[in-house]
């Protein structure tokens, strides 16, 4: 047993962190709230291998593990990189692979969708099927939508999306996660079976947990830096235990979450001793609690400035709230874990 990052994993994390620092600085990220997704930078993510990381090698992917994906997604979350990162990566990893049947969809076949997601030429959103009006994330940014339900995965391309009269919300909760209200979703064309849909949800929860880990860590870093330089009563506010202890609680949540998320990634890769489905549920439960709590605490440590648009604290909190609802929320997974406990 060795639960430390390997040298390759550390190098991977550093290279993605460097890419984010250089190409997804917070000013660039913020500009996408008004300018929309920067497709050039999205392609750079693809060229670095973000979307093809877990795509099998025979399909042109890097064939790496989900543990590596977790390490990468932690950095993307920390940098608040916007867009449907998890859905696009899942599409590249699971849709239209060489060993699965190619499914014709309107315009594109499933192989083209998977390849396009990996190369960054197709941006893919996702939604769990629901009745009645539903909120679709990134409706104006994406080239297609994967709907997951109990029967499988279903593809809806952008022409169909336009045809269903999506109404974009003027004020999305997270300015970097635009949402549109769609009165009724079309059925779409089936591109994967129910087993794949199950994996889609599970790996989606894993990647989202990793993003939330990065968000929790980023919100904590921001608060700690502020507590070191902001002075009141003649000393840095971080010297006061009321503030220091809040920061200690934040990093404590981050470290517990990191253990859970890394363990889930490793276990999904078959290098663990636990059930992978259970490990992912653990990670998502912890992530939904920790990311939002660290986001709120970061706002609080910043005082009045924390409630301004200018300071980034609210961006972490809002993204944490968005991710909590992706691929099943904390309550869903807590209920799943309780089911295991009560049947044991």
């Amino acid at each position: 047993m060795d639960f430390e990052l390997s040298e390759d994993q550390e190098a991977l994390a550093e290279s993605v962190a460097a890419l984010c620092a250089g190409r997804f600085d917070i000013e660039t990220v913020r500009s996408m709230a008004t300018e929309g997704l920067d497709r050039g930078r999205w392609t750079e993510l693809a060229e670095t291998g973000v979307f093809s990381l877990t795509r099998p090698e025979p399909d042109g992917g890097l064939g790496m593990g989900w543990a590596e994906a977790v390490v990468v997604f932690e950095q993307l979350g920390r940098a608040l990189v916007p867009g449907p990162l998890a859905a696009t990566t899942l599409t590249a990893a699971l849709v239209g692979l060489a060993d699965t049947a190619v499914v014709e969809t309107s315009g594109l076949d499933s192989a083209e969708i998977g390849e396009g997601a990996a190369s960054g030429s197709i941006v893919v959103g996702t939604l769990q099927r629901c009745d009645g009006p539903c909120f679709v994330e990134f409706e104006g940014w994406i080239d297609g939508l994967v709907i997951s339900d109990d029967e499988g995965l279903w593809w809806i391309d952008s022409d169909w999306l336009k045809a269903v009269n999506a109404t974009e919300a003027a004020h999305p909760l997270d300015p970097l996660t635009p949402v549109a209200v769609v009165s009724e979703l079309p059925q779409g064309r089936r591109i994967a079976d129910r087993a794949t849909a199950f994996i889609w949800r599970q790996y989606g929860a894993l990647l989202t947990s990793a993003l939330q880990l990065g968000i929790a860590a980023g919100a904590t870093d921001l608060a700690v830096e502020y507590a070191k330089q902001r002075e009141q009563f003649g000393k840095p506010i971080g010297a006061f235990q009321a503030v220091k202890h809040r920061c200690a609680d934040m990093i404590t949540r981050v470290e517990v979450l990191r253990a859970a998320v890394y363990a889930a990634g490793v276990t999904v890769d078959g290098k663990g001793v636990d059930d992978p489905v259970r490990s992912v549920a653990v990670a998502k439960v912890l992530a939904s609690g920790a990311a939002a709590a660290c986001g709120k605490d970061s706002v609080q440590v910043h005082g009045g400035m924390g409630y301004t648009w200018e300071v980034d604290a609210h961006l972490y909190l809002k993204r944490a709230w968005v991710h909590d609802l992706a691929f099943g929320d904390g309550d869903d997974y807590a209920d799943q874990l309780a089911g295991g406990l009560l049947s044991g």
Partner: protein, 396 residues
């Protein structure tokens, strides 16, 4: 990152399991009377002797000092398996095994090591800890128990507190003030005090749980030979700190495994008791609380493995231990709250849950109070995490 155990680690586990399976039936349960410390000592030291005979004593002690010299991961497996098998706890051997012994290994003279280490491993000698004082808790370095220099002896007078199992101990690791006129950390000396010296009086302190392993210790001109000093005169604070470097992330492994068992048992109770018209297990809020606690304990087990892996690579854990302790104590307190909610009025008695359970959830609820206090309060842990891990400024 790889959470699978190596073949050698699995072999170690299999051998240990088989051994536990063969010896535990003859060990029997611990003495029922919590207040009978002589019986506690006899039971705990008997287990230590059994471990010693089988080569499992001092699992983490270096081989040259009579230990097994196991890796941190093997130490983790040892604690996991002994807890799962229901083996006795370290009990009265805690200070000798985990604190005084490692300190002697790092800092004592070869003569002192020859005298003390083997008897600790064999379960012949029980140690207690004379660090805290009524006026020196979290601010340990302010301790005032005086040691006057009298030729080849120190003459020690003062009061110590929380000296658990002092009533049945043979030796005490004692911190004394040898120089009151220098900054507090620089005037402390670390001594080995035989507990049969004249001038030592021990009074038991009864815990909130009603048990009696706590004690306070009054020292009245106790003459301790200078050959019993470990480290230099006035160098006791450094000696004390060295001991913490022995922590390898394993401190709470038994606790985590035991907590998982407690939670699984709570889930069983929730299927037997009702809440309103339905089973407690069907209550959505109780289900979610069970699920969240299950997730937290699982994450803490993963964090333990991270800390142990770090110790295996670098030799130490650092503030990761404080992070763990903070989170674990918090989780256990919320487990207590859930136990209260599920047990209802059955929670009005300690150690008697009718026919609902074999476990004492009410006693555990009281025990959980110690987790944010003992071995550095959560407030002190937050200072450590804030200052050493995050680099926040000190307020002193």
């Amino acid at each position: 990152m790889d959470l699978c155990y190596t073949e050698a680690e699995e072999a170690f586990r299999d051998e240990l399991r088989a051994w536990l399976h063969s010896v535990l039936p003859d060990v029997g349960p611990p003495p029922a009377d919590h207040t009978d410390l002589d019986a506690r000592r006899a039971y705990d030291t008997q287990w230590q002797r059994i471990l010693h005979e089988a080569g499992y004593a001092g699992i983490h002690w270096p081989f040259e000092f009579g230990g097994r010299g196991s890796t941190p991961t093997e130490h983790l497996i040892f604690l996991e398996e002994t807890e799962r098998a229901g083996a006795p706890y370290v009990g009265v051997n805690f200070v000798g095994q985990l604190h005084a012994g490692p300190t002697l290994i790092a800092e004592a003279t070869p003569e002192q090591q020859r005298t003390h280490l083997a008897p600790i491993l064999r379960g012949d000698h029980v140690w207690c800890q004379g660090f805290s004082e009524p006026g020196s808790g979290s601010d340990l370095a302010s301790l005032t128990t005086r040691a006057l220099d009298d030729g080849d002896h120190y003459v020690v007078t003062g009061q110590k507190i929380w000296t658990s199992f002092a009533q049945v101990a043979d030796y005490c690791e004692l911190l004394v003030r040898t120089d009151p006129d220098v900054p507090k950390h620089r005037g402390i000396t670390w001594l080995i005090m035989p507990m049969d010296l004249p001038g030592i009086e021990i009074r038991p302190i009864v815990t909130a749980l009603g048990t009696g392993e706590f004690a306070e210790m009054f020292l009245d001109e106790v003459r301790i030979p200078k050959v019993n000093r470990v480290g230099d005169h006035n160098d006791g604070w450094r000696v004390t700190m060295v001991t913490f470097a022995f922590e390898r992330g394993t401190a709470f492994i038994s606790e985590i495994i035991a907590s998982q068992r407690l939670l699984a048992d709570l889930a069983k109770i929730a299927q037997k008791v009702t809440r309103g018209a339905a089973r407690a297990a069907d209550d959505a809020e109780i289900r979610r609380r069970l699920g969240r606690l299950e997730a937290e304990l699982d994450a803490l087990w993963s964090l333990t493995k991270r800390n142990v892996s770090q110790a295996q690579r670098t030799g130490m854990v650092g503030p990761g231990g404080s992070v763990f302790k903070l989170a674990y104590a918090d989780t256990r307190k919320r487990m207590s709250d859930l136990a209260e909610q599920i047990l209802g009025r059955v929670g009005l008695a300690i150690g008697d849950t009718l026919d609902l359970s074999e476990l004492d959830h009410v006693g555990e609820r009281l025990y959980a109070l110690t987790l944010t206090i003992a071995a550095g309060t959560s407030e002190i842990q937050r200072n450590i995490v804030g200052e050493r891990l995050l680099g926040l400024p000190k307020d002193r």
